[in-house]
């Protein structure tokens, strides 16, 4: 490693060295409670996936370059120089992490390992060692946003068949999927493709909501990559669109990290407050049910059903009650996973891992705890409001011969919806 690159990486650590990071680096007592909290460590017993060790790599670099002991007697100070071997280890520990933050929940000092790993990601990117596939996904997303005029007609064209499905489902030949509608109350941000558009369109139609569809997808691979400027650029397209259309709220589809980016991080990144509310589709659906705007057939699903709580929806965003409220409206045999809520196990597919094929074996192996949890319930249906989780559950279903059905929350709702076509 040449001195210039080493200095660049040390400078990044220096810039990121705020009170919070310093606290995390100083306070860890290595009690190792986190080892039993991490699904990756529990499944592999590989120290690389021990949360304290993931953080320890950055801690050792900090000691080397920012403490007297580390500079003069590095062996005593457990200091470690930045070299290619360290970057290799850092890559493996950092990009393999799903960001579920279960370790933080169990840590007596609430050390946020993902915060420390965000610094590691910044250093890896500066060293040209960031995740290639996440960088490609992030770059493609930005390119799509910059060239949206090239794709706008394609998007509108592909929505025509979705619109027909909407009209048939609700029995209203005038039902449509508006795009770029100025003065709409709600801007709905879906995922790429149409599978998260049709169910939302049915729900909004039945709830008589003045809504419009975003031209941009909700998912943000810049966030998974750890590249804050790119993550901000990707999110900003939606913010600009919401401002242009003067909507009152932005509703994010079933996508945990996309909700957190818009709701928890964007204002800090941009240094400005949102001019609209940001809500998850989960709280919106729960509200529509409570207010009688949509009607569901109670007990529509009689097969045993369980709810896989996405880490970014539950533990990291706090939506515990809304999904359970919705599920209980529909399922007569709802069975909780154990443990659940803030203690729920990660499925193993978060953090962009479902796209990082180099970690395929790891995520399949480390999904075994989730497989066990689901099997213990005897559930035949698993509902989960997160695309990453569903992709991972699909893989686990196949690899572990689980023979379960995996569905989204919106599909569960739409399937159980009581639609009075004559009234439409």
């Amino acid at each position: 490693m040449n001195e210039t690159r080493e200095k660049t990486l040390v400078d990044i650590l220096d810039k990121k060295m705020n009170r919070q990071l310093l606290y995390y680096l100083d306070i860890c007592t290595r009690c190792s409670i986190c080892k039993d909290a991490c699904h990756q460590y529990v499944s592999t017993r590989d120290v690389l996936y021990l949360p304290a060790y993931r953080a320890e790599l950055i801690r050792r670099v900090y000691k080397k370059y920012f403490t007297g002991m580390g500079q003069f007697i590095p062996a005593l100070g457990e200091a470690r120089e930045i070299d290619d071997k360290l970057l290799d280890e850092l890559y493996q520990t950092t990009y393999a992490c799903t960001g579920c933050r279960r370790c933080m929940f169990y840590c007596p000092f609430s050390i946020d390992t993902t915060w420390i790993l965000s610094v590691a990601k910044a250093m890896l990117i500066a060293a040209g060692r960031g995740s290639q596939i996440l960088a490609e996904l992030s770059g493609a997303s930005i390119s799509k946003g910059e060239n949206i005029d090239l794709f706008k007609d394609i998007i509108i064209d592909t929505l025509k068949s979705t619109e027909k499905e909407l009209q048939e489902k609700v029995g209203d030949a005038k039902a449509n999927i508006p795009i770029g509608k100025e003065g709409a109350d709600t801007l709905y941000v879906a995922l790429a493709g149409t599978h998260t558009i049709l169910p939302a369109a049915i729900i909004f139609h039945q709830a008589r909501v003045n809504w419009t569809l975003s031209l941009f997808e909700a998912s943000n691979y810049g966030y998974f990559l750890g590249n804050v400027p790119q993550a901000k650029t990707i999110a900003q397209r939606i913010v600009d669109e919401a401002r242009r259309l003067k909507v009152k709220e932005v509703v994010i589809t079933e996508c945990g990290h996309a909700y957190r980016v818009m709701s928890h991080f964007y204002e800090t990144w941009a240094g400005e407050k949102h001019l609209f509310k940001v809500r998850s589709i989960l709280e919106v659906i729960a509200e529509y049910i409570r207010e009688g705007k949509i009607k569901l057939a109670r007990g529509h699903v009689s097969k045993p059903l369980t709810y896989h709580e996405p880490c970014q929806v539950g533990r990291n965003a706090g939506f515990y009650e809304e999904p359970r409220y919705i599920v209980r409206q529909v399922a007569s045999d709802f069975r909780e996973l154990t443990p659940n809520r803030e203690r729920n196990w990660c499925c193993g597919g978060g953090g962009g891992l479902v796209a990082e094929f180099e970690f395929d074996d790891l995520r399949i192996k480390t999904g075994e705890r989730k497989v066990q949890q689901i099997r213990e319930t005897g559930a035949e249906i698993v509902v989960s409001p997160c695309e990453n989780c569903r992709l991972q559950l699909d893989t686990l279903n196949e690899k572990y011969n689980m023979e379960i059905e995996i569905i989204s929350m919106m599909d569960l709702v739409v399937d159980a919806m009581v639609i009075d076509k004559a009234a439409n």
Binding site: L137, G139, S143, T158, L191, A192, T194, H195, S219, E387
Partner: protein, 80 residues
């Protein structure tokens, strides 16, 4: 029409939801020689924007796109 282009690798990414079709193309582009072509068949309409955007940013090229009965066919040329 497809026989006009010499295809080096066929990729079936039907039923995969975005961004997985793009991820699979990225995963496989290194398996064809520079100048070689992947023919990828997708069903998620999101791939119509995703795959060309990916090609644009990675320096590769979508040389042709076809749409047949709910399937989207991409001919992706490895440029470098």
């Amino acid at each position: 029409m497809s026989d006009e282009i010499k295809v080096d690798l066929e990729l079936d990414v039907r039923k995969l939801l975005c961004p997985m079709p793009m991820v699979r193309v990225s995963q496989n582009i290194g398996k064809v020689p520079v100048g070689g072509v992947i023919r990828a068949v997708a069903t998620d309409p999101g791939s119509l924007a995703d795959i060309p955007s990916w090609a644009r940013t990675t320096g590769n090229e979508v040389i042709k796109t076809e749409r047949n009965d709910g399937e989207f066919v991409f001919y992706v040329k490895r440029v470098k």
